[in-house]
Amino acid sequence: MQRIGVFVCWCGSNIAGTVDVQAVSDALKNEPGVVFSTNYQYMCSQAGQDLIVDAVREHNLTGLVICSCSPRMHEATFRKTAQKAGLNPYMVEIANIREQCSWVHKEMEIGTEKAIILGKAAIAKVHLNAPLTPGESPVTKRALVIGGGIAGIQTALDIADAGFKVDIVEKLPTIGGKMAQLDKTFPTLDCAACILTPKMVDVAQNENVRIFSYSEVTEVKGFVGNFDVTIKKNARYVKEDICTGCGACVDKCPMKKNPNEFNLGMDNRPAIYIPFAQAVPKVATIDPNACNMLKNGKCGLCARVCTAGAIDYTQKDEYIEEKYGAIVVATGYNPISMDKFDEFAYNQSKDVITSLEFERLTNAAGPTAGKLLRPSDGKHPEKIVFVQCVGSRCDACAEKGKEYCSKICCMYTAKHAMLTRDKYPDTEVYVFYIDVRTPGKNFDEFYRRAVEEYGVHYIKGMVGKVTPEGDKLIVQASDLLADKQLKIDADLVVLAAAIEPDKSARPLATMLTASMDTNDFFTEAHPKLRPVESPTAGVFLSGCCQGPKDIPETVSQASAAAAKVIGLLVKDKLTGNPCIASSNELMCNGCSSCERVCPYGAITYVDKEFRMPDRTTRMRRVAQVNPAVCQGCGACTVACPSGAMDLRGFSSSQIMAEVDAICK
């Protein structure tokens, strides 16, 4: 039997104005188990707390009921008070007689009656309270960043700067991501490579950072602070530690006609290649689908020219297992496929390109060495049409494209148009827009400059279709403001394709038990207040994997994610919430119902030996809750058919006792 003390707070006149506090404390004194009951002006004040501590000592109390304001307000305060008095902090229950009683009712009689019932419910609950201690788990002081684009690089750099070890896993042969493919960046027009490549070098030289390029994550086990991750290092048939990146093999390779992924297939690369000059790690990679030596065993030229002896045709995929305390997802984005948009003739004409391809065409390191030339005939285009919102802002029932706004297209199109007019003032540039969305620092000014200073023709309307005719592209579009249908004989059409999360994100989310929205973007723990954390503890989000973002936004989110990771790694031990689910193994029948409803993947099943009544032992499959991962929602408690699962602090018997007390 508990020895319960009841403390009724007046809260000045806030409670005492509508509730007869004396009557409440008198009425509750007669409840079973209550050995002490009093009221005081301000329970949360120092004097009030001292009163509680003294009462606990004097009357040997084991449980406390505080009739006061909302537990959301002062539950933590009174738990600390209980601890000070030598009680377990979870032996406190609060009856909310302010927000849910005195403030909503006007008559003293009604308020007092309700306050007594609420107090009785709290007493009934505290009878069944048990001391709870939060679980502790150690933290592995190493972080994993999945994706080596600007988001991953920035996150890794910030974590490494704080003195923690970081590993970057990148599926391509080099880090750098999409930003490495860009030409200039809006709204300042500084060159992407000039600001990105120093960061790539920084991250490669940072002694706290390891880069696993050409690798992918294949398995994730464990939980916050203690992830066990398997990384598959794909065979690149070149010894990474020996290769100097001199490029002799690349020059000599006879298999030269393979589409160059880095230039989006607009030119060719050899079977052995380094994606671009500033690649990190600057190491050659052999494409096994193109290499004659790997396919047919004939050639071996690269091995002969390699003075360092780095080529190894027998290399195998390697699996690395490592422990991590935190995981940052930075898997980024890709432009969507244009296959479903026949009206723009993307698959019919080489001169219809996406914006990312345009980016490569204007890049000094691109297939045309920075000269803006038509992919079909290498001529200088005189009329360029930019089409915005291709595949963005589509209705779900249209079954092609994405429902969301891709956010970056308005700005990069303005950039492309401006740069074109700047380099080639004789070019006519048309931009077809639905809305021009430029919220951002110096963004609208930038767009206005494109219109006012560079004379880009912005036309409100959408392109209906593009028809190749001779060496021209006939663009048929509407000009809504002039109420006209236009036909433009363009030389080049640039489509601002919508962006979508990388295809690797979905299987990764499954491995991490992190949730995703219908568009395969990772969901954040709270859309406003916890934007860089996944609801799964220990998993953080950086960059476009969470939603479309431009570079400044990506970098700030990357640093924010790093700050959260550092905040986690700096702890030696993680203290959990003690109000979590736990299963009664004797009752558990191993049905997996709870495992299926758990949003955090906190429940696992183990085979355990049990002693049977006839002194034999039997193996049974029972549920176990990982206290570090469980957040205490209680979904499993209701799903459990055998009643084995219960929630500490909100157990079925406690809630039932409250129901009974209220209904008495």
Binding site: R72, Q100, V104, T523, P599, V638, L647, V659
Partner: protein, 144 residues
């Protein structure tokens, strides 16, 4: 002789993160709703076992209302979806038992919707008052 006015007994389950905070906000804004509503705090609406609701009816409650975060806003990401399904099942069971459908209700109240909380409670109490006492499910053995 004065006839005692009928006062229904209403049990409200509120999730800690949205609806309980919404109820607090109703209090902060001094919005009135009948004292017949007694709130029980649960971590998430999905913690509410349909059994608790039946228990309340058994013990003589006249109405039970369950409040959670709006779908998609659950603090635990998916808890209220479970609630929605479980309650749909409970409703059809109560229907089958011949208990008035209006006695149980599921309502989504966010932490910012103090006004909605008060309005919902006023409406629910009015509905249950019109229905009168719950006699079908009440277990007389539980009466003192």
């Amino acid at each position: 002789m004065q006839v005692k006015e009928y006062k229904p007994l209403i049990v409200a389950f509120c999730c800690n993160w949205c609806s309980y905070a919404g109820a607090d906000l109703a209090g902060n804004n001094r919005l009135n709703y009948p004292a017949d509503v007694k709130i029980i705090r649960v971590p998430c609406s999905c913690r509410v076992n349909p059994m608790f609701i039946l228990r309340a009816f058994q013990r003589g409650a006249d109405g039970v209302i369950l409040c959670g975060c709006h779908p998609g806003d659950c603090h635990y990401t998916s808890g209220n979806y479970f609630t929605r399904r479980r309650m749909a099942l409970l409703f059809s069971m109560l229907d089958f038992l011949g208990i008035e459908r209006e006695r149980t209700r599921v309502e989504w109240v966010s932490a910012a919707e103090g006004a909605k909380f008060a309005a919902t409670m006023n409406d629910f109490v009015a509905t249950v008052t019109a229905l009168g006492e719950n006699k079908r499910l009440e277990d007389l053995r539980c009466k003192k």
